[in-house]
Structure formats: structure tokens, C-alpha cells
Subunit: 442 residues, 2 copies
């Protein structure tokens, strides 16, 4: 080792996950998968690398610029995926015959974007998407909302709001105002409403969307409707009465509200919010955003909606669908902030202390017995002082220590020590697993 | 859509995972994670992309050639990780102060190698590694074997053999024969023993390792020892008596055998096999390979061992450790071959049939009730003919269909249909979840 070592470091915008944060990420993802599966969404996976033309097809100029793109050793023009939607579109076009319809999938995996890290963005992050493809049924829209409800509840969030809209309402309203051609510019302006406020949006509508002052006023009257869902729905019905598209949108919105209520979503959880636009032309019907009441500033933690046409760049078949994407990093930050989920830095809740060197095989047998009793058990690998091992347990966040010395080995007992309270109980070794379970439950 | 669509396709050597194979992969990985955690291994993650010098540091010429390496948009020389060991070494060097010792981690993630696909290799595949770092205690070696035992058992394999060796035995023997300098060439020749047989290995030992005929004979007498563990251990003890290193190796081997037996590993599961070398200079003590008795030709499905020095390219600190890596693709192929694990193509075991269009919200409430009862439930999203929906369930592999028509809605009952037997029972809607659980257990 005369050579100086290579400096250990990660790339800018890329992260190592140490055990504590990673245990919390795995808890989030496992919970999400359990909820997805409980609705019949099945897992899929696609490659990290794709032919560049596949990924460039649908992306915006901004995502194209952020692409990690290079020539591989075989001279192929390849790139790392920047989201899970474009790979899903390619996947559906390629495998639709095998998959059949309806097709419900979830997909959890990393994506890569050469983001400007000064904006606090990461260049590698995990996405977690779920979608129902190949059906226009409103049942799939309703279930998307139910997944959000079940998932946020399972993660321990108590106060959150699912904001719900239907893009057809605004589309119909703009048709009625003879502003169909300006829809994209209007949506772009409206997207800024929460950030810049009414006046700035009015100014942008007039300047960029070629909208008159009275039209801008009518659009904002619609988009900024506030109040209880019943009042808002009533107003929307009357404002959309003259447009078939708008009326359809209001009807769909009502079906989603009613279906979610029928499936047990509590009153007040879902809020109709016509200002939610979610991008410019991909979504065509129901749209969702999900906000944590305690942390509104972190933005939507789960967003999505209905689209008519997932994969037309890769096939002549039409794939309508509906789905949403979790904001994994935002949710993890929120769970940290709200102290939800485990604070442990290690996987096992029980530490078997090992200090009688000659008893190594007995400690191994004890740890095995506890594991067979359904516990996650770490055995300290070296016969050190008990104090050293308890300090280790304290630092790692084990909850219980199981301790046996010569006296306990002779008596066939063990000490089970609750590391939070410091209290110990001596129990027969055969009862140790039950005692641990009891203490872990309190 | 006048433009012709982009041909949907994946890169050579890269794979899409459809729901069936992906459900099996998730089952494998979830099972592995559960076993890792039950021993106190905690999860970590590292980036897919690293600075190239980090990855080039330790790799062989072959892995260097296979690296996906490129300049990113900021002009950095970067590469995609080709295994999880080099990132672990970099990770330990960077975070040792925070992590402390001993440190037990597992890591599951994709790696990329520009392999020759004609040899049936994939260019992207999942690795799943577990390691204990920062202790030389034999407990960590024993636990590595116990994890293999528990994991293969949990996956449903009934007949498998963990082949066990200790590299010090051969090292000591070569010292004794004055062949210390030829160790690498000897190991390279011995690695081929199962494939090419004794004679070819003897020829290579003489030609490449500068070993005399009688020395080659002695080496092969050691490496090709066969018989029960007791006999083999006895012979090894006498053959190693003159070498301190060899005697240490035999002693460690015995401790691993005894510790695994004490922790309940059945007799006959572990077989001492001195021919196992596992690479040329990384491993320094215990080595493991794991073979399925029914499918010996697919090779070792979990391999690993003890090393003295994980991270010396990145730090002056020494990190000894022991661990192993699952052969994820091999295990999945074996589970398919042996028909272990689920054959389903969908996540949910229950399909709620939806055919009375006006009852949509009632079906949604029924599906919710079943989910609250702990079932994974898909509701068919469109009000189609029952026959169409049952055909869908058959193709997807749902096990039960829950059916309610006007008659059942009026009576407050549902039909639960076992799709394998074709038999139905009518039960009160309130009992439907219990009935489903009962039928799923049979």
C-alpha cells in the first residue's frame, strides 16, 4: 500500500443511503407495494438503459437536456431512463398482446436526471408509480384515489387532503368562451396560481393567452372556486351547463367523489379544486394532488390523473389509463419531520449479548431460538464487556438486550433487558421469545 | 399521428420483467430481506453511477472492459457500477466513522456489465449481497452460513448443500511445500477441477505453476479429499499439522461446522470441500458455495467468504469482513424449474366481478370490505358479462371470484367461487372475507 488511496466520494447530486434512512425508505416502499397489491396492481420492471430514441420521443426539451446519454461499447446511442412513464409506454406498446387489458401495474425504481443541484434537486431518485391501463372506466379513477387514501393512512399520516379536479371542466369552459386554441397558454398561467396569485395570473392570461379582461375574470372565477365540495359542485354544474365536455367532466368528478365516499373515504379528505391542472396536455380527465395538512409547503406528495393516449409514439394502438406517482423523497422528508415510522438505525430489535467466550455455540443456539420465535435478532460477534455491547445497542437503537452469564446458563434462564426503561426480567430461556414480543408491543 | 411510430424495443442483454416473473423476483427478494433482517443486517443503497476511478480501482481487466463508462454533461468521467462490492468498499471508507463496527449490511440492486450476450449473460442484473464488516470473529462466518440455511429453506428448497472450505488450509499446505509464490497459479488450476478433472489440472499445475509431479499429486490429494466431514476433517488435521496457517484454517473450519450445528443446521447440509477456492486473492479464510442437489449444473446459487481487507484502495483503515452474494437469476431459474413459489400472473388473489352497472358503488364498498379483511382484491373495472370476467381471472391466475347480482344484493349475500374447483358458496356479505381466507388456505 505505498500508493495513495483513491479519495472515496460520490458524484454531485447522488446519494448514499445509510441504514437509518434506508430502513425508512424500505418501510415506505414496502407499505406502498402492500397497498398497490391489495388493489390488484402487479409489479413490473424495465431496464435502466434504453435506446435514446425511445426516451427522447416523448420527453420535453428540458428532460432531453437532462438525459444521461452516451454511446455504449457497441456504438449504440443509449440513455438512462428519466422517469417510469416513458418506459411504461414503450413496455405497453411492446407487450400489450401478452398483457391483455385491463392491466394494472406498479413500478418502483431509480431514475436519473442531470438536474441543477443548486436547486436542491437530486440527479438520482426513486420513483414509485401505479397505473391502470386499457380501460376508460371511472372505477379505475376512483381506485387511484382509494390507493392514495389507504397508502397515506398506512404510512401514519392523519391529516392530508386529496385535491381533485377533472380537466374536461376547464376544457369545456374554454370551448364555451371560444378559447379552445389558447388552452395550453391558459393552463400554463393557471398552474402558477398558488405561487403568484390572482393578479399576476390575470396579467399573464391577458398578455400570453390573448384573453380579454372579462374572460380572464370568468376563468379565474372557475379556477379559484372555493368552499365545500357541495357548493363547488353546484356552481361547476351551472357554469358547465352550456358545454357537453364540461358537463361530462363535472359528472365524472361527482362519480369519483361518490365512489370514494362509498368505499369509506372520510368526509373532508377529498377536496374539489378546479385550479389543479397538472401539466399541459398529457392529462385529459380526473387529476389528483395530495397535500399534507401540516406541511403544505412541501407540495403535492402524490399526483396523477387520467390520460387518453399513453403510447402513441410507439404504436398505433390507443392506451387510455389512469395512475399516479408518489413523491418518495417528499414523503420521506415529511415522515422525518412528523416523526412517523421507525427511528432505528438497525434492522434487528433484539441484541443477544455475547460475553462468555466458551459459550459461543450456546449463544448461537439462543439467537436461533429467538429467531424461530419470530424475532429479528443480532448477536454481538465478539465476547466483549457487557457495557460495551449495551452502548453499541443504544447507539444502534436495538430495543431489547438478551443477556445470559454462567449463572443464567446453569439455571436455564436469560435476562431480558428493556433498553429504553433499563429494566430487566429473568425468564426461562424457553419463554424468552414470548417475553421479547410482549415487551416490544408495549 | 402521421409520423411513423418509434419501434418499441429493449437493448440487447437488457430485460423487461412482466408481472409473473416480477412477482417471483419480488418474492425472492422480500424473503431474502426478511432473513437478512432477522440476523440484524440492515439495508443500504449506493448510486448507480460513480466516478470512474472508484470503479476502476479494484476491478479486474475483464470488468474494466465491461464497464459502462462515459463523460457526463459536466465533463466528469463516470461509470455504472458493475457489482455491489466495490461500492461497499468505497462506502465503508467514506462512512466508517458514522457507521461504527461491527457493521452488518445488505444491499439489493441492479448492476451493469457489457457482457458478451452470446454466452447467455445479461448486461443488467440484480445483485443481493450481505456482509459483516469490521470483525474477525468466527461468529460472523457462522452466521453467513446460517443465513444461507434459513434463506434457502424459506424459499422452499428442500435439498441443498453448503460447501465449506477455508483458504488458509491450502495456503498453509503450499507454504509447507515451499510453493507460496505459486499460490495464485495453483488456485487458478484448482478452480477448474470440477470442470476439467484431475489429469488436466495436474498437467496445468506442472506447466503453469512450476509444480513437480509429486507436489501436484499432494495438492490434489488435499483438494480432492472426499468423504464424510469427520473423515475429511481428520485427514485435513494431519495434513496441516506441520503448518501453523493450515492448522488455524482447519480450526476455523471446525468452529464453523460446530457453530452451524449448534444453531440447528441439519447434519449433511454442510459439506467440507477443500477444492473450493472462489477467486484468486480476495478471500482469505472461510469460503462458501451453495448447490441445489436437484440442479447441480446451474452452479453455486450463493457464494462468499471471509476477506481481510475490503477497502484499502480508498483508505488506510483495514476492514476485515465476511459475506456472500445470492445468484438471483440462478435461484429464479431453479425455482421455476422446481415449481417453487407462486405461478400467478397478478398480485391479487381475489377478483370482485362487476356486472350490475348501477351497483358500482356497492361493488366498490364490497371490495373495500374484503381488503379491510386482509385480502388482496382486484375489482374488474367494467360492467361486462360474468363469463368475460371469469376468463380474465383464469388467465391472470386469481384464485377466487366474489360475485353478487341483484338477488345477492337484496339478500345481503355474495357468491364466493373457487376458480380452481369451480365450486361456489353463498355466504352473508359480512362473512365473505373469512370465507375467502378459508378457501385460500386449502
Amino acid at each position: 500500500m505505498s500508493q495513495p488511496p483513491i479519495q472515496p466520494r460520490t458524484l454531485k447530486g447522488f446519494r448514499d443511503f445509510l441504514p437509518g434512512p434506508m430502513l425508512r425508505r424500505e418501510h415506505l416502499i414496502d407499505t406502498a407495494k402492500r397497498v398497490f397489491r391489495s388493489y390488484g396492481y402487479s409489479p413490473i420492471d424495465t431496464p435502466a438503459l434504453e435506446h435514446s430514441d425511445i426516451l427522447l420521443g416523448k420527453g420535453s426539451d428540458e428532460t432531453d437536456k437532462q438525459l444521461y446519454r452516451f454511446d455504449d461499447a457497441g456504438g449504440r446511442d443509449v440513455a438512462m431512463r428519466f422517469d417510469l412513464t416513458v418506459p411504461l409506454a414503450r413496455f405497453m406498446a411492446q407487450h400489450a398482446g401478452t398483457l391483455g387489458a385491463p392491466f394494472k401495474r406498479y413500478h418502483v425504481g431509480p431514475v436519473w436526471r442531470g438536474e441543477n443541484t443548486q436547486r436542491g434537486r437530486f440527479r438520482e431518485f426513486l420513483q414509485s408509480d401505479f397505473d391502470t391501463i386499457g380501460t376508460k372506466s371511472i372505477v379505475a379513477d376512483i381506485e387511484t384515489g382509494l390507493v392514495i387514501q389507504d397508502l397515506f393512512t398506512a404510512l401514519g399520516f392523519e391529516a392530508f387532503t386529496i385535491r381533485l379536479n377533472n380537466r374536461k371542466i376547464l376544457t369545456g369552459f374554454l370551448d364555451h368562451l371560444d378559447l379552445t386554441g389558447q388552452a395550453t397558454a391558459v393552463l400554463r398561467a393557471l398552474d402558477k396560481l398558488p405561487k403568484v396569485g390572482r393578479e399576476a395570473v390575470t396579467a399573464e392570461l391577458e398578455a400570453e393567452a390573448d384573453v380579454s379582461a372579462s374572460q380572464a375574470d370568468e376563468i379565474l372565477r372557475l379556477a379559484a372556486l372555493e368552499g365545500g365540495n357541495d357548493d363547488v359542485m353546484e356552481t361547476l354544474e351551472s357554469l358547465s351547463a352550456s358545454s357537453e365536455t364540461g358537463t361530462t367532466g363535472v359528472g365524472e368528478l361527482r362519480q369519483v367523489l361518490e365512489g370514494m365516499a362509498a368505499a369509506g373515504v372520510p368526509a373532508g379528505r377529498v377536496m374539489v379544486d378546479v385550479s389543479i391542472a397538472r401539466g399541459l396536455d398529457y392529462y385529459t380527465g380526473t387529476v389528483f394532488e395530495t397535500f399534507l395538512d401540516a406541511l403544505p409547503d412541501i407540495g403535492s406528495c402524490c399526483s396523477g390523473g387520467r390520460y387518453d393516449d399513453l403510447a402513441s409514439l410507439y404504436t398505433k394502438q390507443r392506451f387510455p389509463g389512469v395512475g399516479a406517482s408518489l413523491g418518495v423523497d417528499r414523503l420521506l422528508a415529511a415522515m422525518d419531520e412528523l416523526e412517523l415510522g421507525t427511528r432505528r438505525e438497525t434492522a434487528a430489535s433484539v441484541l443477544v449479548v455475547y460475553f462468555e467466550e466458551d459459550r459461543r455455540d450456546d449463544y448461537l443456539a439462543l439467537a436461533t431460538r429467538l429467531r424461530r420465535g419470530g424475532l429479528d435478532v443480532e448477536m454481538y460477534p465478539e465476547p466483549r464487556k457487557i457495557g460495551t455491547q449495551l452502548k453499541y445497542a443504544d447507539r444502534r437503537g436495538h430495543r431489547l438486550a438478551v443477556i445470559a452469564g454462567e449463572q443464567e446458563w446453569s439455571a436455564g434462564t436469560v435476562q431480558v433487558k428493556d433498553l429504553a426503561s433499563g429494566e430487566s426480567v429473568e425468564v426461562p430461556a424457553a419463554d424468552a421469545a414470548d417475553t421479547c414480543h410482549r415487551l416490544l408491543e408495549t
